[in-house]
Every structure is written in structure tokens, then in C-alpha cells.
Amino acid sequence: MLIRPVGEDFRVIGFYLGRIFLVVAAAGGLPLIWAGLAAEWHPFGSFLLMIGIFATLGTVGVRLAPPEPRLDWSHGMVVVALTWLIVPVIGAVPLLLSGHFVKPLDAFFDAFSGLTTTGLSLLSDVDHLASSLNFWRHLLQFLGGQGIILAALSLFAGTGGITLYFGEARDERILPSVTSTARFIWAVSVAHLAFGVVALGLVGWLVLGFDMHRAVFHGLMIFFAGFDTGGFSPQSTSVGYYHSGIFEAVTAVLMVAGAMSFGLHYALWRGPRRAVFANLETRTILSTVGFTLGLTLLGLAATQVFTSVTGLTRQGAFQVISAHTGTGFSTVPSVELASWGGLAFGGMAIAMALGGMGSSTAGGVKSLRIGLTVKAVINQIRQVLLPEHAVVGTAYHQSGRKHLTPALIQSVMIISLLYVALYLLGAGIGLAYGIPLQDALFESVSASANVGLSVGVTDPSMPVVLELVYMLQMWAGRLEFVAVFSLVGFLYSWVRGQ
């Protein structure tokens, strides 16, 4: 029997949503200050409006609080799913008022793509967008990548935080408490922010000849989009704009860092560093990056797209790292990417579909699930080949020694199959609109795995239904389904429950 939610349930959900909205309202103060300093008064007004909406909703939500707001599992999942729907709607207000979008839905699409760290964009003329709006787009990726919920957890310790943490597709408790874990994740991000912006800024200043202000601006934007595996760029030609191998190399370091689980960051920071290379996820992702890199380079070499070793290495490696980490930066135009047929296309599509590590900012199936699936298959084969009474080992390393249990395998298989279904859903609808199979599949995988590489399907003239489907894919893919299904179940119980 389904139990209909009561007023108390809505008040608890409203209370936690309210707290999160207040955190986002505070974050909105950063682009507001930026707009003020840059004398961009039109965006300044639109940021004020956005902050006002967040602050009003947040205050109302917090005032709704029941005497003892206890967050259970279903409440937490509903809060997470609603956060990731409502924040982009309100966060799209400054983008909508900028006049850079053909229709209101496109502004929402961009905010949604930013928050989910996808990077697909429907923005027209990004090269002439106000700097404060560009900052807000990139900050949305930082908020989404690090986790809005995580920000709220860092500030507001309290009961039920663990359900919010897991709801945001994170499954590692690095430190004993969720609050400490959330704060450590922010410490890792701040360290990367410092090293990343300094490194990119120096390259921009010393190698590219930018003035200091421009070098820091570009360094900051590329850091936000790179470390959070988002893929937005302040220029329409993405990282190709910089025409610099060293800039691409530093960007690649940030992309790799963004796709690593925060548990591994902890091991790299505090040791034991050997644990990083014993980890099943590390071994899996190194194998799959090597495989997809080989496939892509072979395809590009066979079709003579690049004829020099350096050209093939630079373009092939950057695109594969961008695809596998789920970032979506590119150094080749969409039209050229669309012409990478055969093996190169396969290598890129597989890289995007597999994605980064669990508990990172990357999307896709995730290397832990791939590693566990391979291990389960090997164990199954060994079980068949060995004598009946032989015991097959099930241990694996991932933040310590763990065991592969039937329940774990079941969970891994279900989520992996759901990803495959999500990839096929967008591809099928793209096909129905007459988009060629290769392009429809590439764009669908890119949206679902929160990558952002495009072969040109994502365009302001694209069908509205396809735009909505891509948004659904970004949402479900980012939250790894559970929170989305919980919201659907909650709404169904509200209508049909007793």
C-alpha cells in the first residue's frame, strides 16, 4: 500500500530546500559583486532579481520548519531531485534577461547544462557575453560539480545529511562524518583552484601574451569548467581558442583531477599514495583511457585526418581525455568532430559513455561499475572452469579491501543498464527527428554522461522535444537515477496513496 505524504513531509522538504536556496542566494552574491566591479549594470539588476527570488523562497522554506525537522531517506532524495530542477530555473533568470537566447527554454537549458556539469550550450554569441554572466555560467558548473548539497552540508551540520549526500550520487565517506567529508572535498577544490588558476594564468600571461586581468579571467573560467568537468568556455571555439599545447596540457591536468574520486584525492594528499594505484577504479580507468585512446588514434590515423605524429597526438589525446573525464572541452570544431567516422567515433563515444570515477564531478557509467562488472564476469568464468568445491576470491581494492557481493553486483548492473537505456532513449528520439544515427547517438551519450561534446545537433533550432529529452538525460545522468525515481515515486504516492 502506498502511503500518501502528509503536511509534515512537505514542511521537512521545504525546510531543507529553503536552506539550500539560501546557500545559492549567497553564491549569487559573487557574480553580483563582479557585475558591480565591471560596471555591467544590466546583469547587475538581473542578479539582484535572481538573489531576491532565491532568498525569498529560502526564507519561506526555512520558516516552514516543523519543530523537529527529521530528514528520512525519501525526503532526502526528493530534496536532491527538486534542488537540481529548481535551482537552474531560477539560476537561468540572468541568462534569460541577457538577450543571448532565442527562447526562454534555451536559457533554462544552459543553466541546467551548467549545473549538471554537462557543457552543451544554446547560447548565441558567447564571445560578446558580459563577463559577469560568463562568470555565473562557470560558477554554476562549480556549484554543480562540487555539489550544492555539499555546500549546504558544509555549512549546516544536522540530522539526515547522509541521505542528501548519497542522493547527489556520492557514495564515499572519506572521513568519519559527512560534514567533515564535505569540507575536505571543498579543501581539495580550493587547492586545485589555487594551483590551477595560477598555472593557467601564468601560461596566459607569459606564453599567450594576455594582460594580467585577461589571463586571470580565462584561467578562472577554464578552471571552473575543467576541474568540475563541465566544459563551458568563455569563447565559442572552446580551448581551441588558445592555440597552445601547454595551455591544453594544464587544462588536461584539471580534467583528470576532476574525474578522480575524492577518496583518491585524499590518498594523494595525505597518503598512503600507493593505495591510489592498487585501487580498482584507478586500474580500470587507466585501462579504458588507454583502450579508447588507442581506438581513436587508430581511427584518425586510418582516415588520415591528421598526418603528423604531433598533430595526431595533441588532438587525439586532448579530445579523448575531455570525453572520458566527461568535461566536453574541444580543440576541434563540431563540424570536424562530426567527420571523425568509424573507429575514432567509436573510441570517443565509448570514452564518453564510460565516464570518470565514482564520487567525482564526472558523469557516465563510472569506472568503478565497469571494474566491478569485469571482475564479476571473470569470477563467473573462473567458477565454471574450477572444480565445484573451489572458492573464488571476491576481494577488490577501493578505499580499502572490500568484497564483491551479489547485492553489489545487482546494484552495479541495474545502474549500468539504466545508463544504456538512457543513451538509447535520446538516440531513438534523435533518429525520429531525422538525425543520422551516428550524430544522434553521440549527442545523446554526451548529454546523458554529462560530457558536452557536440557534433552540432545541440543548436537553438533543435526540436523542443529533443531539447527537453536532453535535459531529462542530463538530470537523470547526473543524479544516477535514484533521486529522480524517488521524486516520481513521491509524486505518485501523493496522487494515489492512502
Partner: protein, 47 residues
């Protein structure tokens, strides 16, 4: 409620650990680019 002292957080002194983390990530990229260079050389020579 807001930001109490938490000894589990890395301090300023341990920023060297943070720098080591960044440098190891840079080494991973160097290894990937080296692999790509070898593969590109072999594929272009063979095909």
C-alpha cells in the same frame, strides 16, 4: 553551527600535500600523452 574547528580538515602546512597531489595528476597526464605519442607514431608508420 557554522564552520566549527575541525581537525580533520587540511591545514596550511599540509598544502605541500596538496601540491604533491597536483603534481602527481600532472604526471598522469604526461604518461597519457607519452602513450598517445607512441601509439600515434606506430599507427602512422604502419597505416
Amino acid at each position: 553551527m557554522i564552520w566549527p574547528r575541525d581537525k580533520a580538515l587540511p591545514g596550511i602546512k599540509s598544502m605541500f600535500g596538496g601540491l604533491a597531489m597536483f603534481l602527481i595528476e600532472a604526471l598522469i597526464v604526461v604518461a597519457l600523452v607519452t602513450l598517445a605519442l607512441v601509439l600515434a607514431g606506430v599507427f602512422l608508420a604502419v597505416l
